[in-house]
Amino acid sequence: MLKVIKDMLRFDTRFRIAFILLSLIAIMVLLSFVSPYSPDKTFEVAMDSPPSVEHPFGTTSRGQDLFWWMTYAVGNSLLLGVIAAVISRFIALAVGLTAGYRGGWVDRVLMAINDSFVVMPLLPILILLSFLIRGSLTVYTLAIILGLFGWPWDARLIRSQVLSLKERSFSRTAVYSGASSWRISVNEHLPFVLPVVFATTINNMLWSIGMEVTLSVLGLSDLSRPTLGTSLFWANQHGALVAGIWWWIGAPVLIAVILFIGLYLLMTSLNDFIDPRTRLRLMGA
């Protein structure tokens, strides 16, 4: 594992950049555990002071130190992304594998529903849903909701992967070796399906963290919890842009850019690395 990271750091610029950016994010998340300020308290520091040595990102009109608030925000946003990704992975795998392996009318029905969700504009539906439960909305419930809606694209990908694997001769060899369908999926197909699952995980995290930003800006989330979205919500509420408190908008935007570009580059570089074709080429095929 360490060797892999070392190799990729040496030979893949994208991975190098991703590594640096995500290290910054990781440091921020860790710092939140030693934060001198509680994220729930307001008016602990002077209001509206621009970035300084004491307050690296400045302070807000709510009297909060923006840097330390952002350390919580990044952590919460990442947590939301991970939960949503894990939940949607389970659904995507279940739907994709079932449709791919069962085939026939099961496949047709599942894919008709799946494609409907792919095509549908999800934002209005998410607005409706969050609107109805906004009283009881927490980071966790929002993560679960996003997880429940974030699977269709990936289920489709997994299904098509399974369909092509099923057609390959080695699957039939496994059948005639007396292997059970369960063993065939695990031994023969998983090494090909896992890279797809992995790549889509990061992609899905990007999607759900972005969606949280959107819903929060509309006021449809737990606004007392710091996240990338609620940071922007409060900045908007206090008219930070008009009032010239640029750092209040700037800090979350900067962090978001670092986080998203970092994750995206990590995904593309890992994508190439865990592609079975790369593995085969590295083995000398």
Partner: protein
């Protein structure tokens, strides 16, 4: 007679690098041969013997990671008398492609643009090389050309997916011959086809060659096809030429142990004597054996075969054999021995293979 195409000591390698691991596949490694006007020259060999790479070089399809290490491909016909490897992409396009050298690719199923009618590809080719002033005239000429080759003119107005595989391969041959080029390269033209269709396609190719007197370079792994179509045959193994001779000689009096084995193992209807199988398998070209590349599988190998690359011997009737057991004058210039590997090559080919 002067050769139409003279390939001299050609070395073409694939060089790749992935996460710090470099590999050099020495697909064509010191190949010398001549093509003459008005002949069908066959290249035979197993998978990964280098024949496909050789064709890529001759047809001017050198793309990464394929790199020319050394050698020349000299073309001489009409006003052209040059090494093709020194030509720029533009020179290749304006002087050589399709006017002088055309190409019938492997995989007739996929060489035609699936979203355009076939006439449009003809149109692209003709307008690039000759220009189309009068569309009606172009249509008439193309239709006449296609009909002359025994194809219905309707094929021109079809999409590729509407034609059968054999028909598509014939269309590809019609395209390759529209300007009557000096050299037609046919790379496994019938591999995916059924035997009945294969026979028809090869007959068409042979008829065209006989009528126009040009040269056809026919690449196929199927020795029986060479027996029936080619005038001369070259046998490749692991990136090198093992033997080259007139078809009759190759089949009736082969000298190289590899050729001898290939010929004697061919089954034929009406004869059931036991055919021996050759032990082992072709070497990995990213780490080829020293000496003769065939020595590991050769039933008659002697010590020298393990260390020294056999020189090409020239026997009567343009019969060339690269084997230490064959007596005869060596060809000049002598092929370079394996030791010409440059330092950088030595560094990158240390990849563990077996």
């Amino acid at each position: 007679m002067e050769p139409l195409l003279a390939v001299k000591d050609l070395r073409a390698y694939y060089k790749t690098e992935l996460y710090g691991i470099s590999r050099t596949v020495r697909a064509v490694d010191g190949v010398t041969f001549d093509l003459y006007p008005n002949e069908i020259y066959g290249i035979a060999g197993e998978s990964s013997c280098g024949k496909t790479t050789l064709i890529k070089v001759i047809s001017g399809n050198i793309r990464n990671p394929l790199k020319i290490q050394s050698g020349s491909v000299h073309f001489k016909a009409g006003d052209i008398d040059r090494d093709m490897l020194t030509m720029s992409a533009d020179e290749m396009r304006t002087m050589m492609r399709w006017k002088r050298i055309s190409y019938v690719m492997q995989g007739s199923m996929s060489v035609l643009n699936p979203v355009r009618r076939i006439i449009r590809t003809f149109q692209d080719i003709v307008s690039t090389h000759r220009g189309i002033k009068d569309r009606k005239l172009f249509l008439d000429e193309t239709t006449a050309h296609v009909r002359r080759l025994g194809l219905p003119s309707e094929v021109l107005h079809s999409f590729p997916h509407q034609l059968s595989g054999g028909m598509r391969q014939r269309v590809a041959i019609a395209m390759a011959t529209i300007f009557e080029p000096n050299l037609i390269i046919a790379d496994e033209p019938t591999t995916a086809l059924d035997v009945v269709v294969q026979r028809g396609v090869l007959q068409m190719l042979k008829e065209i060659q006989q009528q126009s007197g040009n040269t056809v370079l026919l690449v196929t792994h199927d020795m029986a096809v060479h027996a029936n179509v080619a005038d001369r045959v070259m046998i490749m193994y692991a990136g090198r030429i093992m033997e080259e001779a007139a078809t009759e000689t190759i089949f009736q009096a082969p000298r190289h142990p590899y050729t001898q084995h290939l010929i004697s193992s061919l089954p034929s209807i009406g004869e059931r004597r036991q055919r021996a199988a050759l032990p082992g398998s072709p070497p990995n070209l990213s780490d080829p054996p020293e000496g003769c590349r065939f020595h590991l599988r050769c039933p008659v190998a002697i010590d020298i075969c393990k260390t020294v690359v056999p020189a090409m011997r020239v026997l009567p009737d343009r019969h060339r054999v690269a084997c230490h057991l064959v007596e005869g004058p060596t060809e000049t210039p002598q092929e370079q021995p394996d030791a010409t590997m440059t330092e950088s090559d030595a560094a990158v080919t240390t990849q563990e293979v077996r």
